[in-house]
Symmetry: C2
Subunit: 664 residues, 2 copies
């Protein structure tokens, strides 16, 4: 390990702005008797330089589009952010919020939660996510800049990341993508404190991080994180970099604590009253807990004023700009009014033409309509473009040299893609969608969960959605994934049955401004089963696709590729004198949001059989005591798809047998 | 990009052994009309040098412990492995298997599946997993070597990895761990063909992989992958390396195909009859499809004979070795006979002492008993040792300098930890367990799924299992994870309610030689609820913890920390004149494996209320038409745990109200 600076007695005048952060952090953690004081105390000097001398945000208008973005990837150091916001004068971050750190109902959650307080650009805490989300924000800046120029879009994205962030695999995906795209407005400050929870970082990682970032195409600097001049010079150089910038800041965790600084003891628990008193002494900090010297507050408010000036100057530029209306529409996130009509025409054509195509293909067809009308959709795939059918005709790839395109080759990086999409959605106005195989949602779940927790409009195009993908075998065949995704709160999972439902699902997903969506799509061709398309029935989540002729003897429920099976089973049952209704369930989540009488009318009172080429757990609630499930009970196998459906007994005959058994 | 060698007309004598691989690969993919010919054709030269000159395996005894391990991390190139096994004479890999490539019931699945054919060391296909699993195998070798010396344990682990493997985040976790531990018997051969599915690799990744591996503490070499001498020299040097070794092999994907080599067209589909004919001509390969020249077969069988000699020599060394019995016991995977008695004593003591501790703590207590008796458990944590309570007293950490310990500081690398544990379990005899927070199972699912698919005894110690963790907030509070893990086939999920059930769960997990287990454990203290411990009731999955006094009016079901709530509710109900039984359900999977009459006796015919501090999806099947669920419906919040349980209505009162509502 490189040599670390030793704790210094602080020069009062130069360092009081930073010490205010330290004091608030240790006081708030002490009050909560829970939290992480070490990181805010260690990074207070770096953060002070960054916020005071570079970062332009305006607490009086936290969401102005050209603000610098700040991401605290080491989210456990949340008190760093809350202290800064308090000092800068964010209205919703009064001292009571800090006094109620980590208490139910306060804005000062254990980790920074997007939406809980102004200026929290993204939810962090799960390590590596902030850094990777910031890559998406930095892409967003370049995309907007390519469209509107430096006058309107010209800001940086700054990240503070810890050792944990850099150990997580997602960091690799993120920094490689950033390096490949030469995101030169991205500046990452690494809190190189040499300490992790288990002790010294070196017991688990001896990687040369600077060399690693250079290998990924970044420019790098190494500084003493307690030397404000050195930090300032590095950030200045980083802002002028032609590549993404990585600044390794050697720091002492818990800086200022005479007995605990530099050890893992200061990472994740309160210092204790005695040590806090000793720390105050060492820092020459005489204010009472949660109190601040006037001069310090004044200093920070002057910083905020600079942000306000920058914002006002930008607003003047915007007001005079020829692209003003376009810019405002672009960043609004509102769908163009023409979309609904185009989609209705498209759906009408589908029920006429009845194309038998895979839903991954009909997703592409829907996207052709959408992307022609919506300029803010940003497509991409984790190196499966031709399989996910995510790239429409007019989409040109985004490259390091040209950000005027709108298609991202994310590489074989599902997790990094999901996090980057979160960043794109957070950036403002953009509607990211990205593809991989459904089974590899496992790789991306960490970031997908954050899409749901933050309530972001991100669309996951997950193709090859069952054993129907065939020969690639069980490693590639999702079995548990529909259930596992349906289990995530605030996540919509669509599994459309034909081209019409696929178009409807896309419309539904785009209309959801505060929820992510999954589109689970087939590799194999499916017939159009819908006979008319005047209403978007997918918005209902589930609906009666074919009513029984006469009183229902049984209700068959299915989604996606198994609708075809259910329809065939219903025909056989009819021939055998049993009246079966077929319910299509493209989205359980939306169905459960319908009122009870609608749900009852769809589900009916006859016994039910559900069929889905997956495990049945998510269907249990619809089956009741008498219901039956036809689907998978274990992993898949390698072979041609039709043989697999036979082999695993997911066939019309099996549905017929289950129905007869129930009715008998 | 570095300059690539251009396709050469092949020198017949030198290259026929490699061309046999190419021919079999393109013929099998053509026969299946499905698969990936490009990688086997591109890496045939490298693989030939590796298998012919270095790798020691014995097709007549594929599982001898000191064999070299070979991992095809780029699993889509499965025909490379199948072709090699056929050529080496593995009995179960006759030509009919190759003719039936990717057909249902054949051993030649689309991707190599562990257990489908002899010598497949691990299942690969999900990119990055093979490389990361191999790190676990290489750790296994070092652990065994430290215990038994070079005479018995002295082999290499070789990996062929592709661009996709190196783009995946898990590769970062794996190579950093390998570098930190200086796994010098690990040799990774990178198929540097510059092509991925979306086109040239450089459109998505410009990382300098050689520099990246050096930053992670590896030694590196760069060679022309079609120059057998250069490859041989590099592998020779790599075998003598003091660090893990990375050999970048510049290759041409689909080498030999005159019109498709070097393009993504040859990656994932059959070449077509015409191009195959042209390739045969270019390679000067005159045999019919699936036929091989005698000289080539002879050459490969001579390689196999060398493996047999090596194995026989090793067996002689073993037979004469003083540690023979110990070695055989160590590698057998059989639990020592003393364990059951020790655990029974421990459980008896628990029902006496009734310690009120968190189940993460009672897990540590159980591990103290286990680790004292079982020498093959290999503990670890993803940098949460003190939180997961995974390190018992006598466990010393494994370091680069000393592999005699048995505790791994995996770093903040959940996914890499899970894959390394798969590798440790596959290595033979070892029983890996590793900890992180339950919520971060999301990061590890890719590898956890492979634990289940391969049927490996890997134990995931997942603590902080609900909102009960308190202040860290929704990013750290699992809500959907119990359901998402229960959804994985062949995975046991234990959520024990007290110290007794925790001990039982550990016993059950260790006894499962062909299934992974999750132990979901609390941060908060729980009272002992079991009154006697003569039978391991957790093996039943679910059981009646407290029978109702009199006929059951209602059955309350719960797991883990909510058992306490159910018991309190039952008391209140009793006071109100309602007879409630309380069913503890530590493992739904094991309960569902009980016979129907047992299950019926536990569940009873009274209405049921389930309570779990998580979403309810996995309980639906037990609730029936009339049942109620008390639990979470969305994400958690930051605050002290008791307040959160109140806030989200997971309380005895809520259970009482639900029960009364049902019975009324």
């Amino acid at each position: 390990m490189s040599e670390r600076p030793s704790p210094k007695t602080t020069d009062r005048n130069a360092n009081d702005m930073a010490n205010a952060i330290r004091a608030l952090a240790m006081d708030a953690v002490q009050a909560a008797n829970s939290g992480h004081p070490g990181m805010p105390m260690g990074m207070a000097d770096v953060a002070t330089v960054l916020f005071r001398d570079f970062l332009r945000v305006d607490p009086s208008k936290p969401s102005w589009p050209n603000r610098d973005r700040f991401v605290l990837s080491a989210g456990h150091g949340s008190m760093l952010l809350y202290a800064l916001h308090h000092l800068l004068g964010y209205e919703d971050m009064g001292i009571d919020q800090l006094r109620n750190f980590r208490q139910l109902g306060s804005r000062t959650a254990g980790h920074p939660e997007y939406g809980h307080a102004a200026g929290i650009e993204t939810t962090t805490g799960p390590l590596g996510q902030g850094l990777s989300t910031a890559v998406g924000m930095a892409i967003g800046e370049r995309l907007a800049n390519a469209r509107f120029g430096d006058d309107l879009v010209d800001h940086h994205t700054y990240v503070i990341a810890g050792d944990g962030c850099l150990m997580e695999g997602i960091s690799h995906e993120a920094i490689d993508l950033a390096g490949t795209l030469k995101l030169n407005k991205l500046v990452v400050l690494w809190d190189d404190n040499g300490i992790s929870i288990d002790g010294k970082v070196e017991i688990a990682s001896k990687t040369d991080q600077v060399a690693r970032f250079e290998a990924a195409g970044w420019n790098t600097w190494s500084v003493d994180g307690h030397d404000a001049d050195a930090v300032r010079e590095a950030i200045e150089a980083a802002r002028a970099s032609d590549k993404p910038a990585f600044i390794a800041c050697r720091t002492i965790i818990g800086y200022g604590s005479p007995n605990k600084a530099g050890t893992h003891k200061v990472h994740g628990e309160a210092l204790g009253d005695e040590e806090i008193a000793l720390t105050r002494k060492q820092l020459i900090w005489e204010s009472e807990p949660f109190e601040l010297p006037e001069a310090v507050v004044k200093g920070w408010r002057e910083v905020a004023a600079k942000g306000r000036e920058a914002r006002e100057a930008w607003e003047k530029r915007l007001a005079a700009h020829s692209e003003r209306d376009h810019f405002e529409a672009f960043t609004s996130g509102v769908l163009p009014s023409g979309l609904a009509g185009e989609m209705q025409n498209y759906r009408n054509a589908l029920v006429q033409d009845k194309p038998k195509v895979a839903t991954r293909k009909s997703s592409e067809m829907a996207l052709e309509v959408i992307n022609a009308v919506v300029e803010t959709t940003i497509g991409g795939s984790a190196d499966l473009t031709g399989s996910n059918n995510t790239k429409t005709k007019e989409m040109r790839p985004v490259t390091a040299e040209d950000f005027s395109g709108r298609y991202l080759h994310y590489g074989v990086r599902e997790h990094g893609m999901a996090a980057a999409m979160n960043g794109l959605a957070l950036y403002g106005g953009l509607i990211p969608y990205g593809g991989t195989f459904l089974v590899f949602s496992d790789y991306a779940r960490g970031a997908m969960r954050l899409s749901a927790l933050m309530g972001l409009r991100v669309v996951y195009v997950l193709t090859h959605d069952s054993i129907g993908l065939g020969e690639d075998g069980p490693t590639h065949q999702p079995v548990e994934h529909l259930t596992a995704l349906r289990a995530i709160p605030n996540m919509l999972v669509f599994r459309p049955a034909d081209a019409v439902e696929t178009a409807e699902a896309w419309e539904a997903a785009l209309a959801e401004t505060h929820r992510p969506s999954v589109l689970a799509l087939t590799r194999q061709g499916l017939p159009v089963v819908r006979e008319e398309a005047s209403e978007n029935l997918t918005l209902r989540g589930g609906y009666v696709l074919r009513e029984a002729s006469g009183n229902r003897d049984v209700t068959l429920m299915a989604s996606g590729s198994e609708i075809e099976i259910a329809l065939k089973a219903a025909e056989t049952l009819k021939a055998d004198g049993l009246n079966a209704a077929v319910v299509s369930m493209p989205s359980m989540e939306l169905f459960l949001e319908q009122d009870e009488s609608y749900r009852a009318s769809v589900l009916g009172s006859a016994p039910r059989v559900a069929v889905e080429a997956a495990i049945g757990m998510s269907w249990d609630r619809f089956l009741g005591d008498r219901g039956r499930f036809v689907g998978m009970t274990g992993f898949g196998a390698s072979g041609p798809a039709p043989k697999l459906f036979e082999h695993f007994g997911i066939t019309p005959d099996a549905v017929v047998a289950a129905a007869k058994d129930l009715v008998a």
